[in-house]
Symmetry: C2
Subunit: 416 residues, 2 copies
């Protein structure tokens, strides 16, 4: 196994040099061809997917997981649409980031280049296979995919089709590496290939992220959990606070940018919480509150210490009454996951203290945390949301999949 994985990694590295210098038009042609072939081979993909579904049902995997695993014509069309959208995005490679001249005449150009080879370790949803392959191709990066065992047949079928598209447009198929080994050791082996892989992006649950962080010799950008807060300040417009909080929780509770904890200023808790929590309760949200919350809204369960750092991804909400901005900031810095945090306030000074004080990728004033998303930011399709602070933070789109190099042009300069 180790030999095979090394062979794949080495091959992708070699091919990535070719891809790094491939013209935008050819990359776009490959993306559009991939999209067309996915749609044309929908039946083949669905047949492979049926195998995965049968195994998943036999193994009694939870229905939510089986739903995420399932492919149909509509989902395959969406995958193809995604690839065509990426083809339409601006190519970040070759962009001049900065250019300057030194007193000795040296001309320095900082230019955007692909990172090299990116390893993606992910779980369940097979559409990720096409999505990340497309983003890496457009940004000039070789990619090595290692999906979950539960989606192995679907992923293999999709990769075969994407590879065919590469071959048809005369790009090396090796730029798209696929690890077919479903054993756990395959991941650990992959994480040792620091000679060939430049970056690892894990996408999945806490256990996966931990395994990757603890075993990788390759730089990792985490797409970790989202424990997002909304803090309703004493000077909030309470109607706005209600609308935004409701949206942050209910728009799509299963996403990483959904609200998990609601913080409320003590001075308005007695007015705000009854109406807000009543509305959540009507939407079948279970409330886990601090003692003060329970006093105001007796239907709330008692929150435990674990609730403050829980990523429910579900119709559960933790609620805490705080003494003011300072306590809210301290709570978020302690329990948050550095993802997306919001304050609702009409006081600009309070808002600024919130923006300054919190260490997170995205900080909102009077808006829903649900906007943390590459497309919503106008950056185009994203490969995920980084909760790391190194290299890329927040939505990670094409530009974040690049590195840079310095070109220094001289006329005989030497150092004294």
């Amino acid at each position: 196994m180790e030999k095979t994985i090394k062979g794949i990694a080495e091959g992708t590295k070699r091919a990535s040099y070719i891809l790094s210098q491939t013209a935008t038009e050819l990359k776009n042609k490959a993306l559009r061809r991939m999209a067309a072939l996915l749609e044309r081979n929908a039946k083949l993909i669905i047949a492979a997917n049926q195998k995965d579904i049968r195994y998943a049902k036999a193994k009694k995997l939870p229905p939510a997981l089986i739903d995420r695993l399932a492919l149909n014509d509509k989902r395959i069309k969406a995958m193809a649409g995604g690839l065509n959208e990426v083809a339409a995005l601006k190519d970040p490679v070759g962009e001049i980031i900065k250019k300057w001249k030194r007193p000795n005449g040296l001309e320095i150009t900082k230019i955007r280049v692909p990172i090299g080879v990116i390893g993606i370790i992910y779980e369940s949803r097979p559409n990720v296979t096409a999505d990340v392959a497309g983003l890496c191709l457009k940004s000039g990066n070789g990619v090595i995919l290692r999906g979950g065992s539960e989606a192995i047949h679907s992923n293999q079928a999709i990769v075969n089709i994407l590879s065919q598209a590469l071959s048809e447009v005369k790009l090396p198929e090796a730029i798209l590496g696929f690890i077919g080994f479903t054993r756990h050791e395959a991941v650990k082996t992959l994480l040792k290939m620091d000679k060939f892989i430049d970056l690892i992006i894990p996408r999945g649950g806490e256990q996966l992220i931990r395994t990757v962080t603890e075993n990788s010799r390759i730089p990792v950008i985490k797409h970790d959990k989202g424990v997002c807060h909304t803090y309703v300040d004493r000077e909030a417009d309470l109607n706005q606070a209600e609308t935004i909080s409701y949206n942050a929780k209910m728009n799509r509770p299963g996403t990483c940018n959904a609200m998990e904890t609601l913080l409320v200023h003590r001075d308005i808790a007695g007015v705000f919480l009854p109406r807000m929590l009543k509305r959540f309760k009507e939407a079948r949200v279970k409330i886990r509150g601090c003692v003060e919350t329970q006093n105001i809204f007796p239907a709330a369960q008692k929150a435990s210490e674990e609730d403050w750092s829980a990523e429910y991804l579900d119709l559960i909400l933790a609620v805490k009454v705080v003494g003011g901005l300072k306590e809210a900031v301290a709570h978020i810095n302690k329990y948050g996951s550095k993802h997306s945090e919001a304050i609702i306030t009409e006081n600009r000074k309070t808002a600024q203290l919130f923006l300054d004080g919190i260490d997170a990728a995205c900080l909102y004033v009077n808006a829903s945390t649900r906007f943390t998303d590459g497309n919503q930011f106008g950056m185009g399709a994203e490969i995920g949301i980084s909760t790391s602070k190194i290299h890329a933070r927040g939505p990670m789109a094409l530009e974040e999949l690049t590195s840079y190099k310095y070109l220094i042009r001289g006329s005989g300069q030497i150092r004294e």
Copy 2:
């Protein structure tokens, strides 16, 4: 030990939130105070340094290492001077990197922020202690220092003085953490503190870099070895080629941006190599050449496979004759360390192929690789030269010690 290290890391993390919001003027005041106290306490530092020197001599460490370890008035003045220089540099924190408005009215600001807490693991030279403490302070980052056991007394003395300066200007001393444990396990323990440390920068030999890469749960930016090449093309100005190659090797052979391998185009090897290698030989440089080099310059020793990836940091030079640009590029991508590479040619097309084809931080046309340096690039003092491709590449100065966050200001926007 683990408990103590955890305590230090936790304290530095907490203090880093205060530092991240400290005004530029106060940070500069601290830096200038550090500089003044270092000069005033030179005797104390030198006394501590003498202890380290005595141990080093007793342990029969190599003279070159003892020289790097030794402090005197001049070196302490240089340390103080470095801190004053950093005080004069522009503060990167708070800079607006980008600002835009979305169709729904959301205003997005991408703003520069400190990374958080940076762990520096380094060897021997005690001046690094003051240098990195200064750069981290100016960029708003907490720092945890873990120097080599051979410099423990010097480092501790310097840290005590820097801490006194922090305390005098009323900044928390905890922003400067120091690990006094000299055992190897201290490094491994530190590398597990991913809850409190955001980035690890190792500075040292291959063994140190390997230990860090293999054991760290924290993102690492490597300041790895420099195996730098100069390629003299068929269309080079041979006088310029000689001047640049000589400078690249001889200006300071012990630095990471010094030339280790000279590649020469076959068509001009017979003319260029005799004069070039004669000059190197006169400067007592040992030549390790390929067979063709030996045929042209019989005094050259035979190069082994290991020579092509060796970082000599010494008066040794590997020399290889190549068939042309393509072979030169392939050789550099195979054996180089992605640091600094130069081509000497008058042909702009050939130069462009070199710039496009090579995967390295800094690529030179008709100039010496010795210019890879923060100050030479006009970026100010550097914390090192990154050979990683993630986050920062090449000279890593104040700006590279920052991350960013998105501030999103709305007026009630929710996601549909």
